[in-house]
Amino acid sequence: MAATLFEKIWIAHRIEEDAAGALILIDRILLHERTGGVALQSLAAAGRRVAAPQQVFATIDHVVDTRPGRSQRSGTALAARFMEVTRRETAAAGIQLFDVDDPRQGIVHVISPELGIVLPGLTLVCPDSHTGTQGALGALAWGIGSTEAEHALATQTLRVPRPQTMRVLIDGTLPAGVTPKDLALHLIAAHGASGGKGFAVEFAGCTVSALDMEGRMTLCNMATEFSAFAAIIAPDDKTFAYVHGRAYAPGGASWDRAVRDWIELASDPSARFDAELRIDATVVQPMVTWGTNPQQAVAIDGRVPAHWHGSQHDNPESYDRALAYMGLKPGASLLGLPIEGAFIGACTNSRLSDLRRAAAVLAGRRVAPGVRAICVPGSSTVKRQAEAEGIDKILIAAGFEWRESGCSMCFYAGGERFGARERVISSTNRNFEGRQGPEARTHLASPETVAASAIAGHIADARTLLD
């Protein structure tokens, strides 16, 4: 029978299933210090063992210090506690940890593809909501809580209600200067932050096929803000070329065997989805958010909706509250809004291609006075690669801070933050209240929009600089 990509992976990993859900075999478990340490600690306290430690990987990314010259211990006291427990518990359980001083360290969803930990056709879980990012490689990857992580660690399985399937079919060529981030914000603005709720969302169509692997990761990353259970893209020659030769990827005869299996994963042409959305990529514009939820987004030359009716999927209270928090008036233009902060980083947009595109905007230009501009590479590997190309020099010359890798100021965990009522243009994925600091006002956008805005000192359209 014809099956979707999701169904093929689901069935291959299904130990048993009834109407309530299935017991699914888990191939890879990823942990970070913020939610993984507590899971390992709790598991050990209950006297339970990690079933397959060789299939578990951990990194330190969430609360690690990203300032230049950091050490194993630098950062806040809070960070030290979380890192300490993670080091102790991973060592006790025999789990590979990519620690702060490890050249492979970085944001969990950046390093897993980079190291070949995630592979097409695998099931992968992590106690982190943006785990769906890794579906870009054709894996079924989803975020869980710490208690479910304990279950996965103890049993190498999870009990999961079967999600419905949705295909988001995207066709047409993205206009010049429009990125996968803009495409994702366009989708979320059009269909709401709960538009994909509970669905295993497959991104398909010629626009998706044309994206490079890192662009696919950005798109899948943002599916979390669409409330998808998971996002997935059929593996193709680009995927295989990306995975080949990576540290933990299969090699030799195993590689050929794997690719033969992976080719079969794509959804069958006659497979049925429970829901389908279509997006015309040719009409997508660079996007920027104006509110406190990713669905509150408009094209960069647009305006804040003049009335809550104009803000799709909003109600009067959330509309008013968002405007009050963001310090904006109904009908305000986004272009020209003065900013105090610019941030490039996070599991959404911190990979080499993101930094290259930001550097293309920043080359030979200077960040406007009064703007604090920060770039945090997604992994230590990305940082080295960018430095090998001289991207660091371009950014530093422009006035950006060039950091060590980590999640950094994607969220405020008691360390560094943007100030109260400061307006920040950010390549991250969440513009929630207080996300980048109490009362900080976050506008989500692509790395090139962040770069162009940093130069202008206000929200600006990068296309005017790249012509």
Binding site: P127, S129, E150, H151, A154, T157, S194, T381, A413
Partner: protein, 222 residues
Amino acid sequence: MQPFLPLTAVALPLLRDNIDTDTLIPSREITAVSKTGLAPGLFAGWRYLGGDHAKPDPAFELNQSAYRGAQVLLAGENFGCGSSREQAVWALAEYGFRVLAAPSFNPIFYRNCVRNGIVPAMLPANQIAEIARWVAADPQRNRLSVDLRARRIGTPDHRSWQFTIPDESRDFLLRGVDAIDETLKLRDRIAEFRAADQLRRPWAYEIDTAPRDAVQSDVDML
């Protein structure tokens, strides 16, 4: 986990859509590697003026005496969206909330609730608004009764609303089982499945524990 027993309690209406887990507990409030000690951080951004625990904001419902002892939270669409941090659920539970009623929940948050003994009850937004109006008229007197077995929220004057919760979640909460213990009963079955899977997909199990030097090769991978 303790089985969920019927309760009658004060309810707190907070009918905003998309209340995210950063709002439920800001990251800065998660200061210990622990599942406890989190209740003071619950709703910290809304609950305290300037984030200072010594300065409760009197305008925020949680700080009002009318809602003291609330165990039921009435909320809007997409409750618990955002970060997967289970600290949001641990903080709600520690504060005393046992039932969350909303038109919809974020899926990870929903599962975290069930795994921690909190009932995520789904009702249409108009019904939640109706319940909230009744509660707000006199919160300490107008308490709600929640019967999970019957999937019913009721008032002392015999009005009631049916809520939705999947059978699996309901049974899990009513029984108060340990999910890991349940699964470990299938240990042999899992091992058998895994052994067969390893023959089908050997590449998925060949994890090089001494991987090729990632540092030397990463620039060459470009």
